[in-house]
């Protein structure tokens, strides 16, 4: 039984020359009520937090009961002129680029391999995805052990003839960022894998078969057929990586505390240090607002670039 709402929609939809964008929607019932619970829940909670942080960011606030004092945009100018802020941004960019490249390419390779004839495929799938399941807080002491000077990584390097590469990974300003990147890759390939595995399952087998009959090699099929058909997944991962790189906290905090000498510092660890260790709540809030602007800006940018193509 059509409802009044739908009726009125139809009437309105019949108005002369409806705008193109509404064309498809004219028969549909109103949906605002349906998205409202999700919208209220996430937007309500998070935007309250954003508003609160925005207010806090204009204060000098040391966390006492007396509250803060208004200092205008000082926290922002201090942040933007602080080399630690730009250092964190630089690490974020390096992190985003390296993690995305390795995570996406390895995700594709694993997905393609496991769509082929492999024995015990389910075991490999579980092993690859387990790092996504286990909490960083649980895994990080283990990773510290793996990267220790006398840990398994150096042991392996020494036993496959790469002694020259064996080093104190966590102790050097030159390698601490690499450790964080490596661990993040370890823990996020599984997620990329599962998405690629899923989207590769959507490719019609006939298309691949046809390409093979035309004499295309395995790599050729992967490059010209499979990868293009997973473009949506690649794009989605890039957007998610932009966001997760900007708000990265767990692994740099748990593995290196952003050190030594801030060489693996990220906005997340920077904010945490200011908010928790230094109880500089106003400044931390200003950093968080900058992070928000960057994350939204970067997501929109990635989104626009993807549409251009």
């Amino acid at each position: 039984m059509p409802t009044k709402t739908t009726d009125s929609t139809i009437t309105r939809g019949r108005a002369p020359a409806p705008p193109k964008r509404q064309g498809k929607a004219r028969l549909k019932p109103a949906g605002l009520g349906w998205i409202l619970p999700a919208f209220v829940l996430s937007v309500g909670v998070i935007y309250f937090c954003i508003g609160y942080s925005g207010l806090l960011s204009t204060q000098e606030n040391r966390g006492g009961t007396s509250g803060g004092t208004f200092i205008g945009a000082d926290n922002y100018t201090n942040a933007l002129t602080n080399p630690l802020f730009w250092g964190a941004i630089k690490h974020t960019v390096v992190f985003f680029v390296l993690v995305s490249i390795v995570q996406i390419s390895m995700g594709i390779v694993f997905a393609a391999m496991l769509h082929s004839k492999v024995r015990l495929a389910v075991v490999y799938k579980v092993i690859i995805f387990l790092p996504v399941v286990i909490a960083p807080a649980i895994m990080s002491p283990v990773h510290r052990r793996v990267f220790a000077t006398d840990g398994p990584l150096n042991w392996i390097l020494e036993h496959i003839g790469l002694e020259a590469l064996s080093q104190s990974w966590l102790a050097q300003t030159s390698t601490s960022l690499l450790v964080v990147i490596g661990v993040q890759i370890w823990s996020s390939i599984g997620f990329a894998f599962i998405l690629f595995y899923a989207s590769m399952g959507q490719i019609e087998p006939e298309i691949i078969e046809a390409a093979r009959i035309d004499g295309a090699s395995n790599l050729r099929v992967l490059w010209s057929l499979v990868i293009p058909s997973t473009r949506g997944t690649i794009f989605a991962l890039l957007v998610l990586n932009v966001i997760s790189s900007l708000k990265l906290f767990d692994y740099p905090y748990l593995l290196t505390r952003g050190g030594p000498v801030y060489t693996s510092d990220f906005l997340g660890t920077y904010i945490h240090r200011e908010a928790v260790a230094l109880t500089n709540l106003g400044y931390a809030a200003a950093l968080a607002m900058l992070l928000l602007v960057l994350a939204i800006g970067a997501s929109i940018l990635t989104n626009l670039r993807a549409r251009e193509r």
């Binding site: 009520g33 966390g63 102790a171 290196t256 030594p260 000498v261 240090r273 928790v276």
Partner: protein, 454 residues
């Protein structure tokens, strides 16, 4: 329209339903720890002692005060302040919490808005001259300078700026603890050649153990300088500090500490290396006395991953002459019990705080576990006969000497250390050990970031 509205009502109702179910479940499921038959229950939050030791404290207390039930919640150092601050702002915070003299874990400066003045409690327990009954300095260290309120009653103190050595290992290599830097350097070569670590050191992370080593070597250049710099009476851009940084760097070059010290944390890693018998020396304070006992050491070694540990003789060592002189120890109140002004069981909370800190009975409980070490009440000492040391014939005298040195010193550990200075010094140590930046550069950054605490 009506449809939409009906739907909205439905959606709201379903959310409310889930909410109702949840609340109901929460009520039946979470039997709050309020109701132990007829007893007053108080909650105690702390960053120390360990949960099991804390439980032993509670057992002793409840035995002497059967009408009070205590629940202890232990936090990791870095989690303590972030969890405690909102709890104290709420009406459901703990009745008892811990405050220390400085630093960013529990330093008194973080909690001045949330304390109850305990002056009258102390006076009731110890009489008008109560101040004199505590070890010197402890009361001042737990008093809010601006208002004169006593924020917490001191439980005990710790001494630091000292080392521990594995006597069993040194004996097997025919070595004696060093008198000065060159002797230490020479014997570290012997120790390293024998396949052991000379000094287990973890300067990584945001803990202040690396800073304490820098302080130790700087104080070997000039014993007065460090506290002056913390208070802002001396600049960090000072030749004494430069020399301290140089000595610290040399310790790596000369094989006294391992090259990867900055990638290692004192806990658990460096601690495990020493406890498992792989290192000759470690920089730790009086709290390490607890591992001098046979049983405690076996537990610690197993925790470090040794399957079948063989206890070694653990001995304290005062700082050798590393830069011109021998600095003494530093000591201060370790922490005290503070009472939440919003506590609904104020009397029981005050009773708990004062029993441990002002009665001999309570102090003996603390001393028995040795994880604090120095008693808060003057004139008490651990009863060494009741502690099962590995080799009492030499350990007891050495421990007594260490306690005496810690009791004599007037120099504090963290009292004048602000959060900002603490953070700046942690980074300075990282720069000293992981970069080639000049000591002048390093000092300049510390000077810019530090906030003096007079």
């Amino acid at each position: 329209m009506t449809r939409t509205r009906r739907f909205l009502i439905g959606a709201a109702a379903s959310v409310a339903l889930i909410a109702g179910g949840l609340t109901a479940c929460g009520d039946t499921g979470g039997s709050k720890s309020e109701d132990v038959e007829g007893k007053t229950t108080i909650n105690w939050w702390g960053f120390a002692p360990d949960t099991t030791v804390g439980q032993s404290y509670i057992e002793a207390f409840e035995k002497a005060n059967p009408d009070i039930h205590v629940v202890y919640k232990n936090f990791e150092n870095t989690d303590y302040a972030p969890a405690l601050r909102p709890a104290l702002q709420s009406d459901e915070g703990p009745d008892i919490f811990e405050i220390s003299a400085g630093g960013n874990v529990a330093g008194i400066q973080l909690w001045t808005d949330y304390i109850t003045d305990l002056t009258s409690t102390a006076e009731e327990a110890l009489g008008a001259d109560w101040r004199d009954k505590f070890a010197p300095g402890y009361i001042d260290q737990l008093t809010v300078q601006e208002t004169g309120e006593l924020a917490a009653l001191p439980l005990g103190g710790v001494g630091a700026q000292m080392f521990w050595y594995n006597k069993t290992l040194l004996d097997s290599l025919g070595l004696e603890p060093p008198e000065d830097y060159d002797e230490w350097k020479d014997q570290c070569k012997t120790i390293n050649d024998a396949g052991f670590t000379c000094m287990a050191m973890g300067a990584g992370g945001d803990m202040t153990f690396g800073t304490e080593l820098l302080r130790t070597v700087t104080s070997s250049v000039d014993t007065e300088y460090w506290v002056k710099a913390l208070k802002g009476e001396a600049s960090w851009e000072d030749p004494i500090f430069y020399e301290g940084v140089e000595i610290l760097r040399n310790m790596i070059k000369d094989g006294i500490i391992a090259e990867d010290a900055i990638g290692v944390q004192q806990y658990p890693e460096a601690n495990n290396v020493f406890m498992s018998g792989q290192a000759a020396y470690v920089q730790m304070g009086t709290w390490y006395t607890q591992y001098g006992g046979r049983e405690a050491q076996i537990v610690a070694a197993k925790a470090a991953g040794v399957a079948d540990p063989d206890p070694f003789v653990m001995m304290p060592m005062l700082t050798p002459n590393l830069g011109g002189t021998k600095p003494g120890m530093v000591a201060e109140v370790e922490w005290g019990f503070a009472v939440n002004p919003k506590s609904k069981h104020m009397d029981a909370a005050k009773k708990f705080a004062s029993w441990f800190t002002t009665t001999t009975e309570g102090q003996e409980v603390i001393l028995h576990y040795l994880d604090i070490g120095l008693p808060a009440l003057a004139g008490l000492a651990p009863d060494w006969d009741t502690i099962d040391l590995v080799d009492p014939s030499i350990q007891v005298d050495a421990y007594k000497e260490m306690y005496a040195a810690a009791g004599e010193t007037a120099e504090t550990r963290q009292l004048h250390l602000s959060q900002e200075t603490s953070n700046a010094l942690v980074v300075a140590v990282q720069e000293a050990l992981a970069t080639n930046n000049s000591p002048e550069d390093i000092a300049k950054k510390v000077q810019a970031a530090a906030v003096p605490r007079p």
